[in-house]
C-alpha cells in the first residue's frame, strides 16, 4: 500500500522553493492565504489517495 513519502523526493528543492515564494509576489496576506488553500486542494487532488492524505495531515501537525 502506498504511503506518504517523507524522505527527500524533489530533484531541485531550491528551484521549487523559489517558485513557491515567487508565486506569492504582490499578493496581500489574505490573498496569499487563499492561494495556499487552493494550492493544497490542487495537490490533494493530484495525490488522490485518502491514506496518503491522512498521513500528510498527521505529518503537518
Amino acid at each position: 500500500m502506498a504511503h506518504l513519502i517523507t524522505e527527500p523526493n524533489m530533484p531541485a528543492p531550491d528551484d521549487f522553493y523559489a517558485d513557491l515564494i515567487a508565486a506569492h509576489t504582490g499578493l496581500s496576506d489574505d490573498e496569499s492565504e487563499a492561494f495556499n488553500a487552493r494550492l493544497i486542494l490542487v495537490l490533494a487532488n493530484h495525490i488522490g489517495n485518502q491514506t496518503i492524505l491522512r498521513e500528510a495531515l498527521e505529518a503537518s501537525k
Binding site: P8, Y17, D29, S32, N36
Partner: protein, 541 residues
C-alpha cells in the same frame, strides 16, 4: 599625504620608488593589475608563472586586518595547489565537515559534508583572509626567485584611467607624487567599491539587501567550542535575527549577528554592546577577547560585462554576493583561474583576442549562479513577507521530524565550482557511459593516483589525459603545447578514477584546459579530433 584607509595585518610590499616614476615617457607594461587583494595577487601569480610580466598596483603596503572571507572551498585549494600555496593554507586552516542548524533553542538538523575520499583537499577550510593573502604573496616571492616577472608596488594608488585603442593609461599617486604608466591589458581587482569601475563610469546593478550584520572574532579562553558550523534562525538568546558561529585558526571563533537595517553603527560597535550580544549567546561564564569586529551590509549584483575592451574586472569588483555560501572569494578565485591562461595565450600571440570574451561569457555564467544561490539563501534567512516567513518557519518545523524538509532549509548553499555547461569553448562529449561529474565544462574531479592525486599531474597547460589507453607525450597544435598523460585505473585501487571518469566506459580520452576544466572527452585518441577540440578551446574557430 598618503593616508592608509585601514590598518595592516601584514606589511608585505613596502613602498619603493620605481624607475617608471623617473622615466620621461610613460613605461608600457603588458599587464597591470589594480588591487593587491587575493584576486589581484592570485592573477599576478598565475600570469607570472606563465612568464607573462605582471605589475600589481596597490594603494596599501600589504594585507588589511580583519578575518573577512574565512571559508575557502576545495576548488580554491586546488587552484592554490597549482600556484604552490595550497599546502600552506591547508596546514594553517581549520578543516570542518559538520554543520548544525538551530531555530530558537531547538536543533532543526545536522549535516555532514561527508567529503568523498580520494581528494587531496577537504570540502572546506576556514582561514582568516590575511593568511590566505599572505600565502599567495609567499608563492609570488618564491616564483620571483625562480624568475617569474611579477612586481607588486605598494602605496601606488590609481587616480585616473584613460582607455586607448590598444592600451590603457593610468595616473598613479605615490608618496613621491604622481606618475603615468601604460598597460596593454588592465585587470581591475579593486574590490566591491572598485574605483576603476567608477572612473570608467560602468554600472553595477543588482539587489540591495536592507539588513546589516555584526561580525565579532573572539578568542576563547577555553576550547570547549566545536569545530562545526552552527547556524541559528531566530535564536533564543535574541542577539540577532540569525546568528552564525564558526571556528577559525588560532582559537578564534567567528560570530555573525544579523542585526537589522536601522542600526546605529557607532553604538553597535561599542565593545560593551558587542559583549552584551555575545554574553547572551555564550552565557556569562565564558571568557573571551574580542580580536576584531565590523558591521557589514551586502548586495547581490554584477556588472553587465566583465570585459570592456582592454579592461577586465575580477572578483568583488565584477560581482558581489551575500556572504551566505562562501561564494565571494571562492568565485573570485575562479575568475583568476579562468582569466590567467586565456590572457597568457593572447599576450604571447598563441590565441586570438576573441578568446578573452569567453572570460566574460564563462564568469558571468558563474556569477549568475552564485548570485542566484546567495539570493535564495538570503531570502530564506531573512524572509521579505509574512507568507515567506510562514513557509520558512514551516520548513524549519517540519525539518526537525521529516527528512524531506531538510534539503529546503537554506542557511547558505556552500560554494561549489561552476560547470561551464554551454561554453562556446566546449568540444564534443562523446563518452556516454561516463559520469556527469566530469562532463565537458566541469572542473576535473580529483582522484587518487599511485602515491598522489590526479590533479597534481595536470598543470598549467593543456593536457590530454588517456585513461586505460595511450596518447603521445608531447603534442603541439598551432604553437599551443598539449601534454599527453596516459594513466591506468589499476593505479587507483580505490576505484575513484573509474567512478569519476569512466563510469561504464572501458577507456576514455579527456582534453583538459589549463584551468583544469574538461574541454572534450571521447573514447579513443584521434589526432584530428584533438586538434579541433584544442583549437575550439582556444577560441580559434
Amino acid at each position: 599625504m598618503f593616508q592608509d584607509r585601514y590598518p595592516l595585518a601584514f606589511k608585505l610590499y613596502p613602498y619603493e620608488k620605481s624607475k617608471d616614476q623617473d622615466a620621461s615617457d610613460a613605461v608600457r607594461h603588458p599587464v597591470v593589475i589594480v588591487g593587491g587583494g587575493p584576486i589581484g595577487l592570485g592573477t599576478a601569480l598565475d600570469l607570472g608563472r606563465q612568464g607573462i610580466p605582471a605589475l600589481v598596483l596597490d594603494d596599501h603596503e600589504g594585507v588589511g586586518i580583519g578575518s573577512r572571507a574565512i571559508c575557502f572551498a576545495k576548488r580554491t585549494l586546488e587552484i592554490a595547489d597549482r600556484y604552490g600555496c595550497g599546502e600552506a593554507m591547508l596546514e594553517k586552516g581549520v578543516v570542518w565537515n559538520v554543520g548544525k542548524v538551530f531555530q530558537d533553542d531547538r536543533q532543526v538538523y545536522e549535516f555532514n559534508l561527508l567529503p568523498e575520499t580520494g581528494h587531496r583537499n577537504p570540502a572546506f577550510i576556514n582561514l582568516q583572509q590575511p593568511y590566505f593573502e599572505k600565502f599567495i604573496f609567499q608563492s609570488i616571492c618564491a616564483e620571483k626567485e625562480k624568475g617569474a616577472p611579477i612586481e607588486v608596488r605598494g602605496k601606488n594608488r590609481v587616480e585616473a584611467v584613460e582607455t586607448k585603442n590598444d592600451h590603457v593609461v593610468l595616473t598613479v599617486m605615490t608618496p613621491d607624487g604622481p606618475y603615468t604608466v601604460e598597460a596593454d591589458w588592465l585587470i581591475s581587482c579593486d574590490g566591491a567599491s572598485s574605483p576603476i569601475r567608477g572612473m570608467l563610469d560602468l554600472g553595477f546593478d543588482g539587489r540591495v539587501f536592507q539588513d546589516s550584520f555584526l561580525i565579532a572574532d573572539i578568542k576563547m579562553k577555553s576550547n570547549d567550542f566545536p569545530t562545526e558550523r552552527w547556524f541559528w534562525f531566530d535564536p533564543y538568546f535574541k542577539s540577532g535575527a540569525s546568528t552564525l558561529l564558526h571556528k577559525q585558526p588560532d582559537d578564534i571563533w567567528r560570530v555573525d549577528f544579523q542585526i537589522g537595517w536601522d542600526v546605529d553603527r557607532d553604538e553597535e560597535m561599542k565593545e560593551e554592546n558587542i559583549r552584551k550580544r555575545l554574553d547572551a549567546m555564550l552565557g556569562d561564564d565564558v571568557e573571551y577577547d574580542i580580536v576584531w569586529s565590523s558591521i557589514y551590509t551586502f548586495q547581490c549584483r554584477r556588472m553587465k560585462r566583465f570585459r570592456h575592451d582592454r579592461v577586465f574586472f575580477a572578483g568583488d569588483a565584477a560581482h558581489q554576493v551575500s556572504p551566505f555560501g562562501a561564494r565571494g572569494a571562492n568565485s573570485g578565485f575562479q575568475d583568476v583561474d579562468n582569466l590567467g591562461w586565456k590572457l597568457g595565450l593572447v599576450v604571447t600571440g598563441k590565441a586570438p583576442e576573441s578568446l578573452l570574451d569567453t572570460y566574460n561569457e564563462e564568469r558571468v555564467y558563474g556569477a549568475d549562479e552564485n548570485i542566484l544561490n546567495s539570493t535564495r539563501s538570503t531570502d530564506f534567512i531573512t524572509p521579505k513577507s509574512k507568507v515567506s516567513r510562514s513557509f520558512r518557519d514551516a520548513v524549519l518545523k517540519l525539518a526537525e521530524k521529516h527528512a524531506f524538509a531538510r534539503p529546503l532549509v537554506n542557511s547558505g548553499r556552500l560554494s561549489v565550482p561552476c560547470t561551464y555547461d554551454h561554453s562556446s569553448l566546449n568540444g564534443p562529449d562523446k563518452l556516454p557511459g561516463a559520469p556527469a561529474v566530469s562532463r565537458v565544462g566541469a572542473p576535473c574531479p580529483d582522484a587518487p593516483l599511485g602515491d598522489g592525486f590526479l590533479l597534481d599531474k595536470l598543470g598549467d597547460e593543456f593536457v590530454v589525459l588517456a585513461i586505460d589507453t595511450a596518447v603521445p607525450d608531447e603534442i603541439e597544435i598551432e604553437g599551443i603545447p598539449v601534454r599527453g598523460i596516459s594513466i591506468k585505473t589499476t593505479d587507483d585501487p580505490s576505484n575513484g578514477l573509474v567512478e569519476r571518469y569512466l563510469g561504464s566506459e572501458k577507456q576514455g580520452v579527456y582534453l583538459i584546459r589549463p584551468d583544469q576544466h574538461v574541454a572534450a572527452r571521447e573514447r579513443t585518441y584521434h589526432p584530428d579530433a584533438l586538434r579541433a577540440a584544442v583549437l575550439k578551446a582556444c577560441g580559434k574557430e
